[in-house]
Amino acid sequence: MEPHEEKPIIYTMENKPIVTCAGDQNLFTALYGSLTQQLPREPMEWRRSYGRAPKMIYLEANFVQFKEELLPKEGNKALLTFPFLHIYWTDCCDTEVYKASVKEDMQRWQAALRLHGSVDWLIAVVESDNKKKNKTNILPRTSIVDKIRNDFCNKQSDRCVSLCDPLKESSRSQESWSSFLTKLRTLLLMSFTRNLGRFEDDMRTLREKRTEPGWSFCDYFMVQEELAFVFEMLQQFEEALVQYDELDALFTQYVLNFGAGDGANWLGSFCQPVRSWNGLLLRRPIDMEKRDLIQRGEASLLDLRSYLFSRQCTLLIFLQRPWEVTARALELLHNCVQELRLLEVCFSPPVFQTCLGRFWAVFGACFRYLGLPRVWGVLGVFRTSLGHISDKSGVFLGCSPYKKLKEALSSVEAFEKHYLVSVRSLGDPQSAENFLLDSLKSYVSESWSLPLTHTRKQIAECQKQLQKMDEYLQTSALLASDTNLSEEERRHFCQEILTFASQTAEGKGQQKDARVALSMSSVTRLQELCFRPSSALVHVSAALLLELRLCSLMPVPVTLEHISASIHFTEEQPGSTAQKRAAQNPDGTVTFPAASPASASALELCEMLEHSPSDNTLSSAGLACRNMHLLMRRNDSATSLDTPNTALTALALEDGAQMLRASDVTLSPGNNSIVFTAPPGVYTLRQLCATLGRVQLVLPHLYPVVQYEVYSQEPQLSIQPLTVSHLVCVVVSEHLLAGLPQQVKFTILTGHYSVKKGDALQLSNTDSMPVLHSSTRSARILSSSAELVAESALSIQSSEKVTSISLPVTPPYHTLEFLLDVLCHIPSCPARMESERLTNGQISHRTRSRTRFNSGMTLIDQKVSVDCPWSIYSTLVSLTFHVPFKVKHSLLSVGRRKFIQVCLQNVSDTNFRLTNQTLTENQHTPSLELLSLNTTTHSLVFRQQCVFSVWELRWSGVSPVSLHCEFSASFAPADAPDAALKPYRYHFTLERVSIRPAEGEQDCRTGALCRLEVSLTRLSEPSDSDEEYSDTDGLRTTRLLYEVIDNNSNWAVCGKSSGVVSMPVAAMATHKVHMEVMPLFAGHLPFPSIRLFKYLPHHASPVIPPDTDSCLENDSLSLDDQAETASLRSRGSVQSLGSGESAQPRGPMPKRQAFGPGQVFNGTQGQQVLVLPAADHHLMEVNVT
């Protein structure tokens, strides 16, 4: 008897353990309701064998009437139909009745039970007060319960329980109910433990027999599943799941063993070819069809697997762990695929496709429980696991973002639409391409080279089918240069490009824009760019070569029709480009960084120092990232050249730009170099473009920026002193010396001008610097690289005004050099100024020569005006000559005798011979005699040495007021012949400057007022920035403040002691101020000191004096007021005044500013005046330099 055939209803979730009821059926029926209700109310602890953890369990039971058929036969393993407990009900309370019928009935029941080996029974005796009342003759001593116990339960007294008044609501009845239920539960559990334990033992025994030949997994499956069913019935889903998991593991092991060669007969049924698969049904808890198949041993591998999986899913969902479903589904898929292979099950692709579709459906169902990230992972795994199978079957899988996935999971159709794209059969390469591009992007960003290549190959296939030629060619270009591919494959893709390139445009219709631009970076790598010459800066006639070093990644040599570099004219000053060429190495090469993702992401840092504009101090320092725009851009919008479709948009060729071209270039695999010649101008390289039939390879940007410059040069003339004078000077002099013939070198850079025959330089003659003629003159012509090209004679014609030098014919960009002797006359030292007294001043001529003083050496600037043939303007060339001597004179007195000493100092670095020093008096004063005291007429003046000559001045009568003297000498370089002697003249004026007493009086006297004449003389013209000018009556003047102070209390200044004077802005301008002073002591008194300040009117910007000690700010007092003060000023008055209220700048007050050290020469410094005890007169002199 097959229980499940008889009662198929048994396999539902309503299964409960069966408890049979025998005895008084009416009594049981009355109690049934409350029994079934109350039994599951309280949990019971179920202690398990084999150390399994105890469980709290709520028991339910299905109470059925006892029939002998219900008792299991020997060998029947069905557990679900197994009656776990047998109860005999009786309400017999009459001993007689008991003895007469009930006992007999019980014995029969017991016998039946014993026959089937069932020991799980219970006798329930229901005691009712009603019955007792009726039957008063009941013996109270031995109740019927005791009798039953005595009869049946010889050792197990607990097998008989009494239930008191079960239908009444009394406390007694409650108590008896609860003890009865407890008993019932305990016995039920005991029965479970015993029967399940026995079952498990049997099952184990069966499992141990699995190596025996007749063993069948299907049979065993049924047995263990029975156990699982029981656990499920007892709500022990975890236990039930364990049973299935064990079955799963056992089966897997068998298949693995089979794969390892350990075959089992029963596996034969699973090796049948798969003809169909109906998919999974998760709705029904038990798929009876599949179960039947398994039971009959006819199930296929997929059937078994899906049945097992559906059971596991059901239990997992009962356990509320749906997420495990997906995990297990995944494993299931892998297992299935693998087991199908191991068992060598063959199935046709269409079947597989439907299977696959159904798998997806399963997953669709599972995924609804889950979060998306997990799905992503699952899907990712899925993609690969099915990947290679799908390759065979032609099913194409792509992946795409979550949104699509979500949509796809909503229905099988949508899923197939999104994920199962077959290139050939489904015919949608467009979407396939999109998917592939998606995944390509991730491979590119993570630099997975092999998958990248593979995906790209697939893309190429799609693109070819879609006739997307541009994209296809771009992909081909990338593939052709991909070293992951075999040589053959690369050649194939390269050939694709070449074939397309060689197709004529007509063949493809009349498209005008038939050219295809590809990214050059995919097929070639620009390595270096090299300039020759290395400065990248040449003039027009020289050739600037630009060598481009390209590494071709193509597998075969490619002949390019031409390769061109577009260049961009840079409107910049030639000088400023130098800084821009930072990327260029000194040897003229520019190395381009390899376009690897690692280097692209590197920070390019540069130092930034900022100087403040005013005083050039460092105001900030920092680092700047140059390629921030590359690093900081958003990732998703990034256009990488590696992704061909985005790159194409960026390949816009700059039209109309100037080009560097090289034609018929063959790019062989590996390094190539291409040479361009650069046109004139300042250019920046922008793009590279290689033309190959209809295909153009474009490199849209060149980075780092490369600039070169081919300039056109204007002719230039320069005149320099010849550093080595071969004529007379032994000592090498960097200076031109005045008074001696000097050689100057004319250098003409012809630039773009070619000197024609008859071209001549016209030099305007000046008196002070004649051009000397010499017999041999030759001009050297040098090429731009300083090689001597020719030497030709030079003819010089001189007229009164102009010296004309005819130039030899010279090609452009050459240098023409020749030498010319010039002589600069030493201007005779000035003696014209009346006001000059005993000082050596120099007159400034407003002529072409200008004399300056410079560190002990007198300089003469000679301006030469040159008319050049290439220009309508005259070129003014300045030559600086140095006067080799410096002469000082002094008047020496011994008593009444006077001597004039002239000191001649050689300030040059040349040794000179000096002869014929003479001193003459120009005015030919009759009574004057100059007696030379010099012993030698010839003397050598070594460099930086002095020669002194002394004359005695003799006169008769009154001493002359002024003497105009002239010192003259002849000089020549020490080793030069006498003929080379040149005259040197020095004029000076001596004026009798002495203490001049007041009219009629001989000497100053104490106590008497004396006249003090303060004479202020400007010695030099101020440079423009020096002083503040004010224009008064058309005369430029500066204002000076003078103060006469006597610090030693020798003098009393009467009247105003200070004042402001306006000095004309001209050398030797003199201003005299008279004032009165009174000597306070007799004797040789020093002159009162006179101070001079610059007087700054109030509108002048305040100038902070460099030395506060030397300058006293006198803001508080108006200087004009001060000038009015007529008082005797004692010493220190100004100081106290100044110190009292200094440093109080108060708006637009006039200021005074001290002169710098050395700017004021005090003529009376250190001089003394004899004061007799009477009035005296003073003359004082102050010179301002």
Binding site: G259, A260, W376, E446
Partner: protein
Amino acid sequence: MQTAIMIVANYPLYIRSVPTQGELKFHYTVHTSLDVVEEKISGVGKALADQRELYLGLLYPTEDYKVYGYMTNSKVKFVIVVDSSNTSLRDNEIRSMFRKLHNSFTDVMCNPFYNPGDPIQSKAFDSIVSTMMVQAF
């Protein structure tokens, strides 16, 4: 028997496989396995599991391979792909392999001339991986 050892920090640092002709498949396998690693570590964060455990265990089985994962504290992932039929390798052996790998990876990182992020080209590392592959498979 096919095996591959890969070290990956979101992008491949070192890939070695035996035999070499099936390399593409390994690349795909490892690439996908990174998703699983990602999933695992995000799951670890939730469950507050032992943070010191770097071994991620069997990532997933495919029909051909078993893929094991390991992640250093600096999120560098090690992946070992083993042929499914290779039953001689137990979990513990894989674990010790990872540990060995990690040690020599640390050595590589300690090399001052190694630029982090570059593909590993260390001979010492290579030889360690080679011996490991010979021993294990």
